[in-house]
């Protein structure tokens, strides 16, 4: 292709470039007539399509070290002859597809191939002096063939199609690396760039950055408009002491609420963030916020530990419960584990007791105390207060009701939940519950062995119950058709709102009364008085016995008890007849009565013997009497037969008596 003069003159208009009177003429075998110009170098080239560059010797002297071939519509690199001392070569804005024919320019320091169509870095292996290589806006897919360019100072590869940073580890003098507007998805492999001070990675698809801390001189890092969303993905930046300038704008991370202070906190060395100076105020804020976050993390870690411990304990309690209920066979190793675990108990209990009762230690602030959840965690039972709910797992947990609960904590509890505890055992601590947790309105039972309707009678002694939840698991009583009605009937004085989550309707109450009303009536009106007194008396006796047992009776408490008992007598006396005594207590009582029964039997036998003896005597008398009577009469008649002698006899008897 022949070039024309006009294009050559265009050369002259560009700025830096040499006023050229040089020409490029394509060399060909059929060497045609030269176009023009004084110095025409006829180049015989083996490659038919390469043009050959020639400059006038004037230019050569004036601009001996620089050559500009901007916008020359070049599609290939021309052969440049006789310019071996060239130091600056500019091929901007052409259509060059391959870097060629510059191997001879071994003094080249500055090579600019910006805005061409180069697809591969090649042909540079001889340019050992090259310091600036500008390959922006090309079609380069890979960084390669830079092995010999050890003096490279600036490498510009922006606007290409590079997907990976590679083959740059030997560029130990490189100061600026521009990889903006490429296809990088991550950054690593940055070792060896010991002089790098600026790294431009704008407008890529980077999701994480690694190895930046291996760059000892890196000061400026531009990561704008990438795909970084967490600080963890760029955490190596924190370890780079040289970094002073960084940009993250246009990344998802910059939208986060914690963005600024996280970056500032982790990179104390930064002076500019997103092209804005970092003020002292910002730094201070960042550290404060970071500290708070650290605290929060520590807290949540502690919580999760506690939760895990809780979970383990509950599992253990469940296992023990199942064993108790003979649901699973008793395995010996289980016992051993419990023995070894119980030796740990004292320390655990102490540890958790201290944290559980700030009132006793008197040092922790109330906010933290309320936040603490697990109050007592041992291997056999668990007691937990969570705001308004007191949860008890395992029968050992019932002892915790004896502790000194702070009025505030106890007052807040409105729900009490029992799991893996025998209902009969719960019944015995209900009076304590009434006193210690006066606001408990909602009771929940799960796996508590509720089997009889009668057991609900025991709940009547509480002050008030608003809601009752009986979990079907472990409570066979729920399978009965009538259980809810019985509860509503027996505990009608509570005016319960909800049972097992469903609201109690007026119809429910009416039905309950209809079904069991007669039972109450019979219990109250048809029992003889002494039975009534004895049954009621039992209930009252139990209450007073508990009162006497608790030490430090408060005067207010005694009054309350009196009120309660008064209420018991006044309201719903007919229901009050329906009591529940646990099986053990009942059997105990029957045992006690056995002695009395034996005595009674013996006593009655004695009475019967006496009575029968008397009866026998009576009968015998009845039999003998007629005979005896006749004899009496006969004797008397015989005596009076002779009137005179009888008179004499009587008189004699009277005088003898005197």
């Amino acid at each position: 292709m022949k070039t024309t003069m006009s294009s050559l003159s265009a050369f002259g208009d560009s700025s830096i470039q040499t006023p050229s009177k040089s020409r490029i003429r394509q060399g060909c075998h059929s060497a045609g007539p030269n176009v023009s110009g004084d110095h025409i170098h006829l180049a015989s080239s083996s490659m038919p399509s390469f043009p050959i560059l020639q400059r006038s010797s004037e230019e050569k002297i004036l601009y001996s070290d620089r050559l500009t071939l901007e916008r020359q519509k070049l599609t290939v690199c021309p052969i440049i002859d006789g310019e071996e001392h060239l130091r600056l070569l500019n091929f901007q804005h052409n259509f060059i597809t391959r870097i060629q024919n510059i191997s001879n320019l071994q003094r080249l320091i500055f090579l600019d191939l910006y805005d061409n169509q180069i697809e591969e870095i090649s042909g540079l292996s001889t340019l050992r002096s090259l310091r600036v290589l500008l390959l922006g806006k090309n079609r380069i897919k890979q960084i390669s063939n830079l092995e010999n360019l050890k003096s490279l100072d600036v490498l510009d590869l922006h606007g290409n199609q590079i997907t990976k940073i590679e083959n740059v580890s030997h560029l130990c003098d490189l100061r600026v690396l521009n990889l903006a507007r490429n296809l990088l998805s991550h950054v690593d492999n940055l070792n060896g760039l010991d002089s790098l001070t600026e790294l431009n990675l704008r407008h890529n698809q980077i999701t994480f950055v690694r190895d930046v801390d291996n760059l000892p001189c890196l000061q400026r890092l531009f990561l704008s408009f990438n795909n970084i969303s967490t600080f963890e993905s760029v955490c190596c930046l924190a370890d780079s002491s040289s970094l002073s300038d960084i940009t993250f704008d246009g990344n998802p991370i910059a939208q986060e609420s914690w963005y600024k202070h996280t970056i500032l906190q982790n990179m104390m060395q930064l002076r500019q963030l997103d092209m804005k100076r970092v003020t002292e105020e910002e730094r201070r804020m960042a550290s404060v916020v970071a500290k708070k976050e650290e605290e929060k993390k520590r807290e949540s870690h502690k919580q999760s530990l506690l939760k895990e411990k809780k979970r383990l304990t509950i599992n253990n309690v469940a296992r023990k419960w199942d064993l108790q209920q003979h649901r699973i066979p008793n395995i010996a190793p289980n016992q051993d584990r419990k023995v070894s675990d119980s030796s740990q108990d004292p320390s655990q209990l102490h540890g958790s007791t201290v944290s559980a009762f700030p009132e006793e230690t008197g040092s922790l602030d109330s906010g933290l105390a309320n936040a603490l959840q697990g109050l007592s965690v041992t291997d056999t039972h668990l007691v937990e207060v969570d705001g308004d709910t007191l949860s008890l797992y395992g029968s050992g947990a019932l002892e915790s009701l004896d502790r000194n609960w702070s009025v505030q904590t106890a007052g807040m509890v409105t729900t009490v939940s029992f799991t893996f505890i025998e209902f009969d055992e719960i019944v015995q601590v209900l009076p304590k519950l009434k006193i210690k947790f006066p606001n408990s309105l909602h009771l929940k039972f799960k796996e508590t062995n509720l089997v009889m309707l009668q057991q609900f009678n025991a709940l009547a002694q509480l002050r008030r119950v608003d809601q009752l939840t009986i979990d079907p698991q472990g409570n066979p009583v729920v399978n009965f058709t009538l259980w809810k009605y019985y509860v509503l009937f027996r505990l009608s004085h509570f005016s319960m709102q909800k049972i097992n989550g469903t609201e109690v309707t007026q119809n429910d109450m009416i039905m309950a009364e209809r079904l069991f009303g007669i039972l109450a009536h019979v219990a109250s009106s048809e029992l003889p008085q002494y039975r009534m007194i004895s049954i009621l008396g039992d209930a009252r006796k139990k209450q007073f016995r508990y009162l006497l047992e608790t030490k430090g009776k408060k005067p207010g408490l005694v009054n309350e008890e009196n009120n309660d008992s008064k209420r018991l007598v006044g309201e719903n006396t007919n229901r009050a007849m329906l009591n529940y005594t646990t099986r053990d207590v009942y059997n105990e009582r029957l045992e006690e009565i056995k002695e009395k029964k034996k005595f009674c039997k013996m006593y009655m036998e004695d009475l019967v013997k006496e009575a029968t003896e008397i009866n026998m005597k009576n009968e015998a008398l009845q039999k003998l009497w007629p005979q005896m009577f006749i004899e009496l009469v006969r004797d008397a008649v015989i005596e009076i037969r002779n009137k005179n002698s009888y008179m004499k006899l009587c008189l004699q008897q009277i005088t003898d008596q005197k």
């Binding site: 009364e513 209809r514 079904l515 069991f516 039972l519 219990a523 029968t612």
Partner: protein, 274 residues
């Protein structure tokens, strides 16, 4: 009152027959139990109340099972009390399981044994599918038979087993028609190619049982009546027939007839008042 038969019995026997001693012993025991409370209003009043309640049948309420079982009168009173208190459940039409009925029984007697309820349920369900639901009247009548005549029924069961096994507990001499049976002991499975036992033979055995039995048993005439209607019958078939027989129910005197089971105007009035 002063009928000659009454005076004809010797002392202990008379007392035993009327269970006088049981009540006297229990009264004294209750007295001892509640000394403090009763001393308030006097022993005489206590005895009055006690025996009044015995007459009315309310003495068994919330008492232990051993007492309830002690005399026929107690048992009948208990049945009546159960009917009175839970008639409404029946009226409501609810069908309940055996366990639930047992629960209701326990409301009146905390240590009522489960076996009795189970046996009663077996009568209703014909020994099949024990988790089935039962109606109040079915259960009540079956329970009545089982509870009131429990010892009698045990003996009957024994006789039945014997008959099934081919042994005749009565006499050595066996009518020729079944002479082949009594020497051999065919395995139980084969014995009932025809189900159950011959009604007439069974009836004979039961008659003898009634004569000998100390404990109460259904009126022999009625038992005979039940057995005369069928050729063969099974054990549970017999029990079901007993439970459904009006005459026996009336003879017991505890519960009203089946038709009137849901009616109790006095209690309904009370219910309205509540």
């Amino acid at each position: 009152m002063l009928s000659p038969e009454r005076l004809a019995l010797p002392d202990y026997e008379y007392l035993a027959q009327r269970h006088v001693l049981t009540y006297m012993e229990d009264a004294v025991c209750q007295l001892l139990e509640n000394k403090e409370d009763i001393s308030q209003y006097g022993v005489a009043r206590f005895f009055t109340e006690y025996f009044n309640s015995v007459c009315q049948g309310t003495h068994i309420l919330f008492r232990e099972f051993s007492f309830i079982q002690a005399t026929p009168h107690n048992r009948a009173s208990f049945l009546r009390a159960f009917w009175k208190c839970f008639r409404t459940v029946g009226k409501n039409g609810d069908l309940l399981t055996m366990r639930e009925y047992h629960c209701l029984l326990q409301l009146l007697c905390p240590d009522f044994p489960l076996e009795l309820t189970q046996k009663a349920a077996r009568i209703v369900l014909m020994d099949d599918a024990m988790d089935c639901l039962m109606s109040f009247s079915d259960f009540l009548f079956a329970f009545q038979i089982q509870f009131y005549y429990s010892e009698f029924l045990e003996s009957v069961a024994a006789i039945y087993q014997d008959l099934l096994a081919g042994k005749n507990p009565n006499t050595v001499i066996v009518p020729t028609s079944s002479s082949g049976q009594h020497r051999q002991r065919p395995p139980l499975g084969e014995a009932s190619v025809l189900e159950g036992v011959e009604a007439s033979l069974f009836s004979q055995c039961l008659e003898n049982l009634c004569d000998r039995h100390k404990y109460s048993c259904p009126p022999p005439a009625l038992v005979k009546e039940v057995l005369s209607n069928v050729q063969r019958l099974t054990f549970y078939g017999f029990l079901v027939a007993l439970s459904k027989h009006h005459g026996i129910n009336q003879a017991l005197g505890a519960l009203p007839d089946k038709g009137d089971l849901m009616h109790d105007p006095a209690m309904d009035e009370e219910l309205e008042r509540l």
